[in-house]
Symmetry: none
Subunit: 216 residues, 4 copies
């Protein structure tokens, strides 16, 4: 009586890795939707289609689960950033590409913004406790430094620009707009997420950053 003829790792129950991943994905969605305080462990279990007890079996408690979700979210964006290959591009193009990537990634992963918000609300306690915090440092920072340096050498960019400051600025320009889009839309009485508005925002950000860099 062949009990299991399916390819390994595909449909098996009792697959620890698979269960953990399922839980992480469900938790990410729940935390993104409701924040750390508003998230419900019951709902995470339900979303994952797994027993609530299993969450505690693998992640100990809600806080540690949140930490694991955060680390995964950072790993995900870093993984994508590493594919950018900015060094192969002309410096202005490279900077523009970084801006576009950041903008698009935030648009595609709204949960990332919310997770960041929740993490900040709790004073980054979850990252401070993570031994892997430093690993989350973006590899792009270094690359961006090289891009800026090359742009300067080639007379395209001004000098004296700190890549960390610029990286934070690029992130902030997209982040604030998107994270506050609902609030801002309500206040300004115009939809900041319409296609037209999006295009305008992207243009503005690129103009702002590249205009600054280009200035003598």
């Amino acid at each position: 009586m062949a009990r299991d003829t399916s390819p390994p790792g595909e449909e098996r129950l009792r697959d620890a890795d698979r269960s953990q991943s399922t839980i992480l994905a469900a938790a990410r969605d729940e935390f993104a939707e409701h924040g750390l305080g508003g998230a419900r462990v019951d709902r995470i279990a339900e979303r994952a289609g797994l027993n609530k007890r299993l969450i505690y079996y693998y992640f100990e408690d809600k806080e540690k689960l949140f930490q694991a979700v955060l680390e995964l979210a950072y790993r995900d964006i870093r993984t994508e950033e590493m594919k950018l290959r900015l060094l192969e591009l002309d410096p202005p193009i490279a900077v523009r590409r970084l801006i576009e990537f950041t903008w698009q990634y935030y648009l595609d992963h709204p949960e990332f913004l919310t997770l960041l918000n929740s993490a900040n609300l709790h004073r980054a306690r979850h990252l401070a406790e993570s031994k892997r915090a430093r690993e989350l440092n973006s590899p792009v920072i270094e690359t961006l430094g090289a891009v800026l340096e090359r742009g300067r050498k080639e007379g395209q960019f001004r000098g004296g620009v700190d890549p960390v400051q610029l990286y934070v600025s690029i992130a902030g320009l997209s982040y604030f707009y998107l994270s506050n889009s609902h609030t801002l839309s309500a206040i300004f009485g115009r939809d900041l997420l319409s296609p037209k508005a999006r295009t305008e925002r992207l243009s503005h950000m690129a103009d702002l950053v590249l205009g600054y860099l280009a200035a003598s």
Copy 2:
């Protein structure tokens, strides 16, 4: 049995106002510290030194209290913004002043950032429901428009800059840096809130925005 010998009306109202203000301040701190989901009505009452029941008497429920806190926070920053008198300044100075004000206000009122975060987590539901949302529109937007226009006319600024976009950018540059300071400090392994780091950030932001505006 004389229950109350105080003059009717007047003083009662004063007390009522005072209680409401006390509750609002306590709620603002609690929401700022723990977010909407993590805030506890009990703690708000304790902070205010008032009976929990009074909170419901004045604000109906926790959500409405949060909404009131949000509206107050917006009113507060708008009040300060109105004192800036940007139109009396040379355009580049005016823009610099707005950047400095924003930066300093966020530094002085960290609770404002957290409240914004919480509001965003809940998709601005609380503002959308507020009849006064539009009143929260910053008067600075209009003023900034005038400043940009004058700067352009005087050959100091480039043209075609949307004041809303620029206003959002200025806010975002400070906001992301400060809101994420703990996370970023952990990741970069350097204290982003040290006096030196603060000065550098302010310089960078001014350079970025003014460098952009000045570019032909």
Copy 3:
């Protein structure tokens, strides 16, 4: 519309003292029956006919509730002990009366034995944390000392008997027999709680203690 004509403190709802007493009594029974670990807060609320939340409102948590129950149990037995008036009796009669009282009290309040057991299991942590622990010191100890002294002076008792040791012995003789009655009954194959067995035990204890005291 007279809402409440009943005598005060009799049937009123919303009577804090009354509620606390009701909870304490229910808790005492539950703890006595199941021990600290086996007791269920739900069941205590049910026994008390009150909302579970109220238990936490008044007693903070299960441990503190147990502590309150313990203190009450001690206060109760001390109250009874104080009514003994041993000093008015002839020394041998006084000692016999203390033995009889202890025996009867344990028989009438089997929950006292169980509570003591539970407290001991947790290393008297609950008493050690009680500020009133010393108040629980039996007033009988002092009285017993006087009785022993008078008995010695009158040539009825031997000298050099520590009243604390004797008090503990008297308690232990009843306590072990009753606390272990089920175990011992099973082992010896005879009912240790039958009327005849009880009488024999009381005789034995009195003989033992008085025989010892009378010995030259």
Copy 4:
């Protein structure tokens, strides 16, 4: 695929016995520390360094495990009691020796006291269900009867003393003092387990019992 090349039977059984013993010892410690209700099967498995499932394999459930622990504890003390050889001693010496043994055994095996407590809390249900309950009857009872009889014949002891009553009394004198030592220490404000206090207690108990027996 050779699964097992070891000699069949013999060694397997050894392992099985060893595992059971390990579990029993771990369970004894856990039950002694936390009582039946507070004991955790997980912790027992951890203490034993064995998989939780094995516990169920050998002992069916927690209750039956507790019963097994109890039976073992009784067997252990009976084994020691049988080494006393009281009949070879002069009656008063024999009684003193029994008192000393009981006192010392309880001191050396505090877990025995706690296990007894737990068993009593559950009304000896675990023993009543044990087919071996009667086997747990102390062989010392009979011996003590003989000692008392010989002491009486030789004019050293009074007559009419029930060995069961005396045995229970001797146990109770040590048991109550030690089992309640924490509570009593807290109440009396003096350390009942200091070397001096121990010596005094032992003296008192011997005086009490032997004084009683010696009395005409």
